[in-house]
Subunit: 135 residues, 2 copies
């Protein structure tokens, strides 16, 4: 499969695929004249990459995780790395849940007939805000 088809299948741009290769996230065979050629499984891999991107991981972090995902190299460090990112995502989920609940509260007040919305919750609300930055 060439790059255009992979782009169409995985729903990302051709430019993005070339960028992924540049970042070492996605390798491609080259056919004689220099055109990239991908196996079928590449589509799934691109999906995974997108998944990790949308989880806030940087390309560098993804590049560090992917080998220990598919290359079966399971050193203690790699497992720690995976676990760390997992925990980071967990924290992010928790933060998002808090934010969503906040919005729900606001919506409830805004929707009430009294329409009295006296600021959020005046107190310990908005306690921890996870600054999502992958190391």
């Amino acid at each position: 499969m060439r790059i255009g088809e992979l782009a169409a299948r995985s729903g990302v741009s051709v430019r993005a695929l070339r960028y992924y290769e540049e970042q070492g996230l996605l390798e491609a065979g080259r056919s004689g004249s220099g055109q990239r050629h991908y196996p079928e499984a590449a589509a799934d891999r691109v999906q995974l990459i997108q998944m990790l991107y949308s989880a806030g991981l940087s390309s560098r972090t993804i590049a560090e995780l992917l080998p220990c995902v598919d290359a079966k190299v399971s050193t203690p460090e790699s497992r720690a790395r995976l676990a760390a990112e997992r925990d980071r995502i967990d924290a992010q989920i928790a933060a998002l849940t808090r934010t969503r609940d906040q919005l729900d509260t606001v919506i409830a007040f805004a929707g009430s007939p009294a329409s009295g919305c006296a600021w959020i919750a005046d107190g310990d609300v908005a306690a921890q805000v996870s600054h999502s930055a992958a190391p």
Copy 2:
């Protein structure tokens, strides 16, 4: 409270606070000589702003939401806006949960004594990837 103290209390940089004001997210009184002066409640507001930022909302979106949060103006449009962002966050949480579960699967395989990790799940995995971009 002046800008330095607010920065210290809320854990963001002075530059960020000025940026928030520039974007219309945070208003400040000025004391004669032009120095910004904030009320106590500003710290909570900054926390809320950070919360929304870390949820992936853009400053423009936040600027559109905040008035309908604290100014009690509850038009149908504003409520729809709030609900839309809430749903977006919900989708984001779902996507993150899927990603976390993926990582858990990988970790489980990596941690197993057999250490046989034959790619993720070969199938319908990585179904929907929510591209988190706030309109």
